[in-house]
């Protein structure tokens, strides 16, 4: 199978994630879209690793997973805290920082 197809898939996944982040209001959905973008990037790294026959890309992918796991912990905690205080998970409602 042509490994370049994986690159097309990852580009597609990344675009879906990016559009989701920009378009959706629900914080959980936005969050999942961010995860989708991260995993699209992971897929690209692994694909290049395969194409070039080196392990660098796979090592990078593991790092990304660890960072993503940490990010999930912090991000979910923030979302839960915001939901508890304002009974809403909309990212547009949490726009008070500038005031």
């Amino acid at each position: 199978m042509n490994p370049y197809n994986y690159l097309y898939l990852s580009a597609l996944l990344f675009t879906i994630g990016a559009v989701g982040v920009v378009v959706r209001r629900n914080a959980i959905v936005v969050f999942m879209c961010v995860e989708l973008m991260l995993n699209a990037a992971n897929l690209t790294l692994v694909t290049f690793s395969r194409i070039n026959g080196t392990l660098d890309g796979q090592v990078m992918a593991f790092f990304t997973m660890v960072v993503a796991a940490c990010e999930v912990v912090v991000g979910l905690a923030i979302i839960v805290a915001i939901y508890r205080s304002r009974r809403s998970a909309s990212v547009d409602d949490a726009s008070l920082l500038k005031r």
Partner: protein, 631 residues
């Protein structure tokens, strides 16, 4: 040149007194005045001792020096803190410490009701020390230290009662006017160093033989500026009248007998410069002649007894400056008039203080009258000073003033006639206004306010007055007997000392003219005041000339219009420039940053999704850019 190790005590003793009194503070209130008087008197004793040593030496070895320490030693600029006592300095030393001690004694009683008497005596001692440094310094730079010291002491003492705003302003005015003169002295020192390479008297004298005339003229003019500031000469004269805000003993010591004569000392000390710079010398006589008439005219219109005496001081110093500007023929006569003036004017100021003491500090002469009966001792001592200043023989002023008038005529030609004429006119005016003071105060009818109880002053006050009165009577005769003072001073003036111009008039003719002028002045004053009614309030419907004279010949209006207002306008302009340009730039930077912030702030909406979109667009743009560039 003989050296000595004891000169420094002349200065150190009063300086020690001032230090002790200022450091000990209120603890020395009880005995401070006695200590200060003691130190002043002991300085006088050292002065007499030095005189006796000097008299024992032959003429050419009379000047003594003492090197205290190396003061400045930078490259080719070497100044020692050194003292020089010669025939000229010793006259000043004895005048300063002698009259100074008498005035200390007088002040013990005069200031006895003032709770700050100790501070007053500390300043007096500081003044004595500074003034001695001024006349004993062996270089212009050492003189400058004393010059500034007396300026400080004068400022402190004029503003001694600074709780009154007018008095504080008077002291500031005196200080500022003096600073202008001080600038002249510092310029003179700088020019001397730049062109002659030295600032010591002996060094400058040596260099003056070969130096360029332009440099010497510049130094001479700057020294004249210095002299006009310190000696209240035209055009820096206007501070002296206001300086009368100080306690009367201060007026007697600083603003009559000693400090204001420092300018005369400076010119006479710098005789070698003025002899070699005729232009500067001509300016000196012009300043002297103008001031002697200027002061005399102001004196005719003043009702405040101290201000009348101050105007008279200005006028008399004009005579001295005139004498000093007449070159080798006049130096000794200028110093002679300075010494006799020191006696009779200090005596008269103390007399004025005595009158004020007896009249509840009233200074308006129109409120005096008939005090002869109540203050006989003050009347007699003041009267002797009066006879001396108007120049009645054989009192002191007759000899000294007559010699200056005679020398002025001897300047020859039109110059001689003009100067001599001015001096004669000044003598007539002096006779007029001093007679006016005398009549208004002592011999006319009573014009007191109610509840005045005039009384004679206590012993400690009339004793110094009496001693000074004796000096007013005898000094002129003593100084001129066998040309004693002239011969004594001549070695100081180098080889030029013996020159004598041709006589325009015989001395006896000049004396005759002077006495006629005096008689006319006295007669007019007697007719106008003694034999006619005097208003107890100054009449207002008077001629324009009287009005101008009462306003000190518009000296303050002139200074305000020509210097103060343009100065203020310039300052306002500079402030405006500072605010608009310098501050404007600083504020502009701030405003720009603020404005930029306010504009950029609008992009911060607070919506997380718009940030994400921007990041996305940015990333795409970046990648697209890279792609385009690397393609």
């Amino acid at each position: 040149m003989t050296t000595s190790t004891t000169l420094v005590y002349l200065i150190a003793l009063p300086l020690l007194g001032a230090t002790i009194l200022l450091l000990a503070g209120r603890r020395s209130d009880k005995w401070g005045h006695l200590l200060a008087t003691f130190f002043s008197a002991s300085s006088f004793a050292v002065g007499l001792y030095q005189l006796s040593l000097m008299l024992d030496r032959p003429t050419e070895e009379r000047a003594v020096t003492q090197k205290l320490f190396t003061w400045i030693n930078v490259g080719t600029f070497n100044v020692d803190a050194g003292l020089l006592l010669d025939q000229l300095s010793i006259c000043f030393v004895l005048l300063i410490t002698g009259v100074g001690t008498l005035i200390h004694i007088y002040s013990i009683s005069y200031m006895s009701h003032d709770e700050n008497r100790r501070r007053f005596f500390a300043y007096l001692n500081l003044f004595i020390a500074s003034m001695l440094l001024l006349v004993l310094g062996d270089s212009y730079l050492n003189l400058y230290v004393g010059w500034e010291g007396v300026g400080l002491a004068s400022y402190l003492l004029i503003g001694f009662w600074n709780q009154k705003p007018a008095y504080a302003t008077a002291s500031k005015k005196a200080f500022v006017m003096n600073r202008i003169g001080d600038m002249g002295l510092s310029f003179a020192i700088m020019i001397a160093f730049a062109t002659l390479g030295t600032v010591s008297f002996s060094g400058v004298e040596e260099a003056s033989h070969t130096a360029s005339k332009a440099a010497l003229t510049a130094i001479g003019i700057m020294l004249l500026v210095a002299a006009t500031g310190k000696s209240a000469q035209f055009p820096l004269q206007s501070w002296l009248g206001d300086a009368m805000a100080g306690p009367t003993p201060v007026s007697a010591l600083i603003h009559a007998a000693t400090m204001v004569t420092a300018g005369v000392y400076l010119i006479v000390r710098s005789n070698f410069i003025f002899d070699a710079a005729p232009t500067a010398q001509l300016l000196v006589v012009i300043v002297g002649a103008i001031t002697l008439l200027f002061g005399a005219l102001i004196g005719t219109a003043k009702d405040d007894i101290k201000k009348a005496l101050a105007a008279s001081t200005m006028s008399q110093i004009g005579y001295m400056i005139l004498g000093a500007g007449l070159g080798p023929a006049g130096y000794a006569f200028a110093i002679m008039h300075l010494l006799t003036h020191g006696f009779f004017k200090a005596g008269m100021f103390l007399g004025a203080g005595s009158v004020m003491h007896g009249m509840n500090d009233q200074v308006d002469m129109r409120r005096y009258g008939a005090l002869r009966k109540f203050m006989p001792i003050t009347f007699i001592t003041f009267g002797l000073g009066y006879l001396a200043i108007i120049g009645v023989p054989p009192f002191a002023g007759f000899y000294s003033k007559d010699l200056i008038i005679e020398t002025a005529f001897n300047a020859g030609g039109v110059k001689g006639l003009l100067l001599g004429g001015a001096a004669l006119l000044g003598a007539a005016l002096t006779a007029f206004y001093m007679t006016r003071v005398m009549v208004l105060t002592f011999t006319s009818k009573e014009r007191w306010e109610e509840n005045q109880h005039p009384h004679e002053s206590p012993f400690l006050m009339w004793l110094p007055m009496a001693i000074l009165a004796i000096g007013s009577v005898t000094t002129g005769f003593l100084f001129t007997r066998g040309d004693a003072l002239v011969n004594w001073l001549n070695p100081v003036f180098g080889e030029h000392g013996e020159e004598h111009g041709e006589h325009m008039f015989e001395p006896i003719v000049v004396s005759g003219m002077a006495l006629t002028a005096v008689a006319i002045g006295v007669a007019i004053a007697l007719a106008k005041y003694q034999f006619s009614k005097i208003d107890s309030v100054a009449p207002q419907n008077v001629s324009i000339f009287t009005r101008i004279a009462r306003k000190d010949l518009m000296q303050d209006s002139f200074n305000e219009a020509v210097f103060m207002r343009p100065g203020q306008a310039l300052t306002a302009l500079l402030v405006k420039g500072d605010e608009s340009v310098v501050d404007g730039a600083v504020r502009g930077i701030g405003r720009t940053a603020l404005g930029a912030g306010a504009t950029l702030r609008k992009t911060q909406t607070g919506f997380a999704r718009s940030y994400a979109a921007l990041i996305l667009i940015g990333a795409i743009a970046l990648i697209a850019g890279i792609w385009v560039v690397t393609q």
